[in-house]
Each structure stands twice: as structure tokens, then as C-alpha cells.
């Protein structure tokens, strides 16, 4: 304390200088119009610069949490979207409470990709949600832009997804404009393209047509976008076209995915398995 006092006495004149200079600045800023404007302008500029920088840094820390929140919100919106389609198409019996149990209800679960491959002949994806979160085999996996694949196996915390870039993965798809449908199978060549087979030659297919899921399977709801027609392969002697589809979702940059849980999946698969005896 004594030392401090000594310092004050020693540098008293300098402190006085600072004080008076500060007072001068105060006067300049408060009693001169031009200088006041300049001061306010610079002050604001500096302030906004510092705040935006600070925010930029702080936002970065909250990104993970924000991402999770957005994924959840996306899932909720998707749920609403896919559920509304089934209800609207049967609007007149919507009020019947027993009907609600019958109609297909979709529940969307957000997840993240933790392992992915696109170069192998049989590509698989691992995601970070499993049986604990209610995921079962044969559930569809999509993103906000396109489809990803089908769940094949689950453990407690993880699930294995059969990527669309896997020849074992057959997705029932439909050409939206003309309504023809067929299975989509990867030909094992280019990870950006898949092939839609069994489209009859009298179908009015054009390059650029949109392909979506058909909604005939219990795995995916209808109208989930898949891609656009890129090339129509016309094999002489065959009855059907092979259509090359450019996928909307780039499989190389998968991160946030959504799993579609269909409440009537079990019931339907059980019933449809009985049809095998007639085939």
C-alpha cells in the first residue's frame, strides 16, 4: 500500500496528464458535433466488429448442440410431412378413432453416420442409433435430400445400414410424372448413379424425370425423392428399359440421416409373407 502511494506521488504528474487528457477527450466528444459523429461511428464499428468476432467464436462451441436440435426439428417436420399424406388421402374417415390404429404412422428418428463406404462392391453404413432407440431391421434410412438405404442389423447402440450402393438393396421406386414403378438396384459402377430396372418400354420416360419411392413397400413412405433420370438404356430384344438415375443424395458426404419407423411394419410384413405360397 505504501509502495503504491509512493508510486502515485512519483508519477503524480503523469497521472494528472492522463486525467486531463481524458477530460479533454470527454469535452471533444461531447461538445463538438463533428468529432462526436466520428466517435459514435467508430465506436459502433468497433463494437460490432468485436461482438461479431466474439459471437463467431462462441457460436462454434454451441454448434454441436444446435446441430442436434436442428436434426430433431427436421425429424419432427418429416414426420408431419409423411404422416399428413396418408391422412389426407383418406380424409373422410379421419374422424374414426379405430381408423387411426390402422393407418400407417411414421416416426422419424435422427441419427448420425459413423462409418461409410462407397468404393466397395457391397457398401455398408454404420449409424449411431440402435435397438436402444427403437430401431429394428428393415427400416428405411433417408436424409433431407434423398434416400440412404435400409437397416439390416442392429445392436444395442449401433445399426448397420445396407446402402443404396449395394446390389442387395432393392428399393421400390416410381417415376413421378408417368407413374411407372420398378425396383432400383445399384449396378456397382458409379457411386453417383443407380439403375431403375423393369420399366416397360411403352412408358413415357424422359431424361430429367424425377424418381421417388413408390410407397408400395412398408420400408419407405411414398414420395421420398431419390434422383433424376440421367440416361435411358434401350436394350434391343428386351421388354423393359434400364434407366440410370442420378441420386440426389451424394453418398460420399453423408452425415445426418433419419430413420423411418413404420408402426404397421410388423403386421404388414407378416401378412405379405403369407403370399409367398401362391408365387
Amino acid at each position: 500500500m505504501l509502495k503504491l502511494l509512493q508510486q502515485v506521488i512519483q508519477h503524480g504528474s503523469f497521472i494528472l496528464f492522463l486525467l486531463l487528457q481524458f477530460l479533454c477527450f470527454y469535452f471533444i466528444i461531447n461538445y463538438n458535433q463533428d468529432q462526436k459523429k466520428i466517435y459514435l461511428y467508430s465506436h459502433q464499428k468497433l463494437n460490432s466488429f468485436v461482438t461479431s468476432r466474439y459471437k463467431g467464436v462462441v457460436d462454434y462451441f454451441g454448434l454441436k448442440k444446435k446441430n442436434a436440435i436442428l436434426a430433431e426439428e427436421n425429424a419432427r417436420l418429416m414426420e408431419q410431412h409423411y404422416n399428413s399424406k396418408t391422412i389426407i388421402s383418406k380424409e373422410n374417415i379421419e374422424t374414426d378413432s379405430s381408423f387411426n390404429a390402422l393407418v400407417e404412422k411414421y416416426q422419424i428418428i435422427p441419427a448420425r453416420v459413423i462409418n461409410n463406404s462407397i468404393n466397395r462392391p457391397n457398401n455398408l453404413i454404420t449409424i449411431n442409433k440402435g435397438g436402444k432407440d427403437g430401431i429394428l431391421p428393415n427400416m428405411g434410412v433417408i436424409t433431407t435430400t434423398g434416400i440412404v438405404g435400409i437397416v439390416t442389423d442392429t445392436s444395442r447402440n449401433f445399426s448397420l445400414v445396407l446402402s443404396v450402393l449395394n446390389p442387395n438393396c432393392k428399393i421400390s421406386s416410381k417415376l413421378i410424372r408417368c407413374g411407372f414403378f420398378g425396383p432400383m438396384i445399384w449396378d456397382g459402377e458409379n457411386p453417383q448413379y443407380s439403375t431403375l430396372v423393369d420399366i416397360q418400354k411403352y412408358a413415357d420416360v424422359k431424361i430429367g424425370d424425377t424418381v421417388s419411392t413408390s410407397g408400395y413397400s412398408y420400408i419407405f413412405p411414398g414420395q421420398v425423392p431419390i434422383g433424376t433420370v440421367n440416361e435411358i438404356e434401350n436394350n434391343p430384344g428386351a421388354f423393359t428399359y434400364n434407366i440410370h438415375v442420378k441420386l440426389f443424395q451424394d453418398m460420399a458426404i453423408l452425415d445426418e440421416v433419419y430413420i423411418i419407423k413404420n408402426s404397421t411394419m410388423m403386421e404388414r410384413s407378416e401378412l405379405e409373407s403369407k403370399g409367398i405360397k401362391y408365387e
Binding site: C24, I28, I29
Partner: protein, 173 residues
């Protein structure tokens, strides 16, 4: 000593009156004297005795500046410039100390320390003052070229007039 204080006070007062009533109205370059202002009152601060304590120097500079500001309608601008000059004065004196050193009760005037010494001393302090003054007046580095041009023009005129005053009047009397 008492006489010394009164003399210095009177000198500053007189210089400030000339500044306020005569030089403020004189226009040399540009419209409304935009590019050059004749500033002579800092001479009063420049000529304070060498033994003046810093404390007193700062107070004196501040009060003189505010006094001028009241008439120039630029509260704080002259005061800030005066303070910068007062702050620099001891360092300038130290830098320009002759080999034999200063003696007690010496005054920084041409008669005591030589014309050449005084011209240099006054040029440095006036330069600092004028530059500080225009920096405070324009208040932004965006117009740094403007600040420099105005400082150079004003400095030239003021320096010339101050030198004439120094020759005509003997500040010791």
C-alpha cells in the same frame, strides 16, 4: 518568484487575447481559413521557465487550452493539443540539453541559450502542438493527408510570426 508567475501569466493572457481577437479572423489559405490557422499562444507555454514543475505545467496548459477553446467554440481541442505539447516539453528539453547543462532559473529564450537553439526548440514544440491540434480537430485517420497538409501550412505561418515576435519583443523585459 512571485513576479515570475505574474509575468508568465500576463504573457499568456496577452497572447491569447491577440489570438482570440485578431488572429482568429485572419484568413490566408483556403476559404474561411480552412487550411491554415495562425496559432501563436503556445509561445506562452513554450517560454515558461525551465524550473516549472510538471504538475504546474500540465494545469497551466489545460487551463490555457480551455480558455482558447471557449472562444473558438471547440471545447477540448486546444486543451488536448496544449497538454500534448506540455507533456513533450520536458523530454524535448532533455534531448536538447547543451553540453554544459542548464543552470537554475534559466529561461528557454534566444538571449540565454542562443538563437539557433531556440529556433530548434520552438520548432519541435510548435510542430507537436500543431499536429496534435489538427489531429484532435479532424479526429479521424481517414483524413491523415488533410491533417498533415494543414499542419505544415499552419506551422509555417505560425512559426514565422512567432519568430518575428521573438525578435521584436524581448520576452525577458
Amino acid at each position: 518568484m512571485n513576479n515570475e508567475i505574474v509575468k508568465n501569466f500576463l504573457r499568456i493572457f496577452l497572447l491569447s487575447l491577440i489570438q482570440i481577437f485578431v488572429l482568429k479572423e485572419i484568413v490566408i489559405f483556403g476559404e474561411n481559413g480552412k487550411y491554415s490557422e495562425i496559432l501563436i499562444y503556445p509561445l506562452g507555454l513554450i517560454l515558461l521557465p525551465l524550473s516549472t514543475p510538471r504538475f504546474f505545467l500540465f494545469f497551466f496548459a489545460f487551463l490555457t487550452g480551455i480558455w482558447i477553446d471557449i472562444f473558438y467554440d471547440t471545447l477540448g481541442v486546444h486543451a488536448a493539443a496544449c497538454l500534448w505539447m506540455a507533456f513533450a516539453r520536458p523530454y524535448v528539453l532533455k534531448f536538447m540539453e547543451p553540453k554544459s547543462g542548464y543552470t537554475m532559473n534559466q529561461h528557454p529564450v534566444a538571449q540565454e541559450l542562443g538563437v539557433f537553439w531556440f529556433m530548434q526548440y520552438m520548432a519541435i514544440l510548435l510542430g507537436i502542438f500543431v499536429f496534435a491540434y489538427f489531429s484532435m480537430k479532424i479526429f479521424t485517420l481517414v483524413y491523415i493527408a488533410d491533417i498533415v497538409i494543414r499542419s505544415i501550412l499552419s506551422f509555417t505561418i505560425s512559426y514565422f510570426i512567432l519568430f518575428l515576435i521573438q525578435i521584436i519583443f524581448d520576452p525577458k523585459s
